[in-house]
């Protein structure tokens, strides 16, 4: 930790959060909001004079409320930076009548009540997301009495109690009478591996954490009677089985069975655990002076904002989703963003360090090159066709198109800013925009190939690269079975799906068309899929006006992690397809073909010479 504080190339921005981002791999522009500390971080020496005079006492968050701190405080003695901070919600303020004592006391004059939050902007090439995890709150598992019995604590509270820097200076005492417990019971999987409460997954760290805790207790107080109630002990890592065996050899009892109930003896405040030992099938009762709930690990509750800022998504367990579960385990789907530690999945310190080094190495690969190539999938505007209407500039999520509606000069694409979603091309009423590698003609060719034979049997599906197509991949990896009638056309974003593609498919005899993309918060092109939705809604109206059932055009949002949903949607659209009759399809073909023959309005010409007539 101190290495970080004094490294010449690390700028530490504590008490800060990422507020906004723009840009892309190699050139992210990040706004960081720095909260006011009210103490000059550079000048403060953490001498502690201010502590002595501060009259406000509040629970200490670092010690999980097991001790108190002042309104001006240092989170813990080894904190980096080694500087105090004022908790303004607790502070009485600088009104002299109210308080202002620390201000008077501080000789170095580090305290400034008028300090305000401020924003700084950073330009970076790569981003590592190491936002960690939250710890499960066992309140809802009322049978363990966490909120009713003081001598029932969590494993994290235990860490603070046994820590020499903690509230009891490392003396293990039970909360009710501050007596050293002679009988300690651990309950495993609290908040983990449960379909009902907490999380369905294994939290990875709790078994070994309990084994370690049992060794710590035995180390200090060998006579302590320790019982561990578990369903499985997962000691899979290097050296883990040794620790487990050592714990057993020291007399720690491992009892296979999770207690159904914990009750308190009102007289002694001892705890009585009722459990079925599943190795013997016996119902047993065990007494303990203290019960430690081995609580699980959860995704951070505040990760939603980061998801939006860097277009990240989560797997079904709630943790951030990697680009590939096996081959790109530290890369985010957004290029230039990497994961380290528990943000991606629960892991212990060794695994967190390993992944952090891997993430650093992956980021290094990008940055060491100095230049990187961007996929050639950007949009190109034909100035001869463009009328300067500026619709494209209006829909571009990246503001990558310069257009002037007043002057009606042809629009221009800034290639480095274009991410290639294709929304502009789909929205351009004049066909002036070509998406490189995802051209209209290339997509139309795929539609034609699908519908050349037995069109009644086929469903034309447009799937975005990042979510829906990837969801289809995930369904495959999971071997989920669904009917074989859908044919997927991959575009980078559902925003690329021109209404003409859909109409073309119907004209060629498609019974059903599905447009699928990312959920709104997950769109890899900021909010391009909002345009998808608007366009599909317009198409539904249009189909209805023409006498074509709008249900034959479906819209679904499927994330890369939703293999199940993908398979379900495939089954549902197959049912819808079966309901479409050949007569209905023929009628649609007739309506749309006649419609296509009618001449379209001529576009207004852009002010330029020579002027070409765009489409007729």
């Amino acid at each position: 930790m101190t290495d970080v504080g004094r490294h010449p190339r690390i700028e530490l921005l504590t008490y800060s959060e990422v507020a906004a981002t723009t840009g892309f791999v190699g050139n992210f522009n990040v706004t960081v909001r720095r909260r006011a500390r009210y103490v000059d971080e550079k000048e403060c020496t953490a001498c502690g004079d201010c502590l002595e005079v501060c009259p406000v006492v509040v629970p200490d968050k670092f010690n999980i409320g097991l001790s108190t701190r002042k309104a001006i405080y240092q989170p813990f003695p080894q904190a980096v930076p080694s500087a105090f901070v004022i908790d303004m919600e607790a502070c009485l303020g600088h009104n002299p009548i109210a308080c202002g004592k620390c201000l008077e006391k501080c000789e170095k004059e580090c305290i400034d009540y008028d300090m305000t939050d401020r924003e700084v902007t950073l330009n970076v090439g790569t981003v590592i997301v190491a936002t960690g995890m939250d710890v499960y709150d066992p309140t809802e598992q009322d049978e363990y009495g966490y909120t009713r019995y003081e001598n029932v604590i969590t494993s994290l509270e235990f860490e603070r109690l046994i820590n020499s820097g903690g509230p009891t200076e490392g003396h293990l005492v039970r909360p009710t009478d501050r007596r050293q417990p002679e009988r300690v019971a651990f309950i495993q999987c609290v908040g983990s591996r449960s379909q009902q409460r907490g999380k369905p997954y294994c939290s990875n760290v709790c078994c070994m954490n309990t084994v370690k805790d049992s060794l710590l207790i035995k180390d200090h107080w060998p006579e302590t009677d320790i019982k561990v109630f578990y369903m499985d002990i997962r000691a899979f890592g290097k050296g883990f089985e040794d620790l487990y065996q050592r714990s057993k050899a020291l007399g720690v009892q491992y009892i296979r069975g999770l207690p159904g109930e914990v009750e308190e003896d009102p007289a002694t405040k001892d705890l009585i655990l009722s459990v079925e030992d599943t190795t013997s099938g016996q119902l047993e009762q065990h007494r303990a002076d203290m019960v430690i709930l081995s609580v699980g690990v959860e995704p951070r509750r505040d990760m939603e904002s980061l998801k939006g800022l860097f277009t990240l998504s989560a797997t079904s367990d709630g943790f951030f989703m990697e680009a590939h579960p096996k081959l790109l385990p530290v890369d985010a789907p957004t290029r230039g963003v990497f994961f380290a530690g528990c943000s991606e999945a629960p892991k212990d310190i060794k695994d967190s360090v390993t992944q952090a080094s891997a993430a650093a190495a992956r980021a290094n690969i990008l940055m060491s090159q100095g230049r990187i190539s961007v996929e050639a999938i950007t949009s190109v505007i034909d100035p001869e066709i463009c009328t300067g209407c500026a619709i494209c500039a209006n829909v571009c999520p990246y503001h990558a198109i310069i257009a002037d509606k007043e002057k009606r000069t042809p629009a221009v694409v800034i290639e480095a800013s274009c991410a290639g979603c294709g929304t502009c091309a789909a929205e351009c009423p004049f066909g002036a925009i070509t998406m490189r590698h995802f051209e209209d003609a290339q997509i139309i060719a795929q539609i034609d190939a699908i519908l050349e034979e037995d069109p009644m049997e086929k469903i034309v599906v447009f799937a975005c690269n990042w979510c829906s197509y990837a969801g289809g991949d995930f369904a495959g990896i999971s071997r989920l079975q669904y009917p074989p009638n859908a044919r997927l056309i991959r575009t980078m974003c559902s925003g690329r799906v021109d209404q003409e593609f859909v109409l073309h498919a119907f004209r060629k005899g498609a019974p059903l068309v599905l447009v699928s993309g990312c959920h709104f918060a997950d769109c890899h092109y900021i909010d391009a899929n909002r345009w998808t939705q608007r366009r599909v809604e317009k198409l539904w109206d249009k189909l209805e006006r023409e006498g074509i059932r709008p249900e034959r055009l479906q819209l679904e949002w499927i994330s890369a992690a939703e293999g199940q949903k993908f398979a379900k949607v495939m089954r549902e659209i197959e049912e819808l397809r079966k309901a479409v009759t050949p007569e209905e399809v023929e009628e649609t073909k007739r309506i749309l073909t006649e419609k296509a023959k009618k001449p379209k309005k001529k576009p207004k010409k852009a002010k330029k010479e020579p002027v070409e007539v765009a489409k007729t």
Partner: protein, 202 residues
């Protein structure tokens, strides 16, 4: 089908991959290859056990040179998996990487229609046909190069963020480490001793 071949004679090679039994266990890859051979502009269609393997890629490169191929279709797994592999392969043989098209016979076909081999084979043929028709219209593309800022942002100052910051800073990059709390350390700092070494966390 629009023969918009941009003024050149189209010469397409199609490579149908068995992926061991992953694809061939459900899809009749021989039938698919034969079907591909009959598609317009397809000069050669070949069936391999593992197209992504070194020998598999070598076949493609050799065919590009011997048969003057100017488009390549690989019918194997998801392009999200191996598109970079095959783009690099055809580039090594002198083709622009954007003249590759993939058909996803594994994730989107053989793995999800395990009990319907005939329907899966028909679907595989369609997927290959779609890829060939699209390939005929592909154009060479040139990628834009952009400079990379040699600075990194690390969000979160727990053990993972600390390690990543130190590694990157020691590799010579400027690092910004953003932490929500007033101190770095995260949950790790709250833990007493840590396994498997049983030493202190800070």
């Amino acid at each position: 089908m629009d023969d918009g071949n941009h003024g050149e004679e189209l010469r397409i090679g199609v490579y149908v991959c068995d992926c061991g039994r992953n694809i061939a266990g459900t899809v009749d890859c021989g039938v698919v290859t034969e079907f591909a051979q009959g598609l317009p502009h397809v000069v050669i269609a070949s069936n391999d056990k593992y197209t992504c393997s070194e020998p598999g890629q070598e076949v493609i490169k050799q065919h590009i040179r011997e048969h003057n191929l100017n488009r390549v279709v690989v019918a194997s797994c998801s392009p999200r998996m191996h598109e970079p592999t095959f783009r690099a392969a055809i580039q090594q043989a002198g083709l622009n990487p954007y003249l590759l098209e993939m058909a996803n016979l594994r994730e989107h076909c053989s793995w999800v229609h395990i009990n319907e081999p005939e329907a899966a084979t028909r679907k595989a043929m369609d997927l290959v046909k779609m890829a060939v028709w699209r390939a005929a219209l592909l154009r060479e593309q040139k990628e834009l190069e952009v400079p990379v800022e040699r600075k990194a942002l690390v969000i979160g100052g727990g053990i993972a963020g600390i390690q990543a910051s130190l590694d990157l800073a020691n590799a010579g990059y400027q690092v910004y480490l953003v932490e929500k709390e007033p101190s770095i350390g995260g949950i790790m700092a709250q833990i007493d001793k840590t396994y498997p070494t049983m030493d202190c966390s800070i």
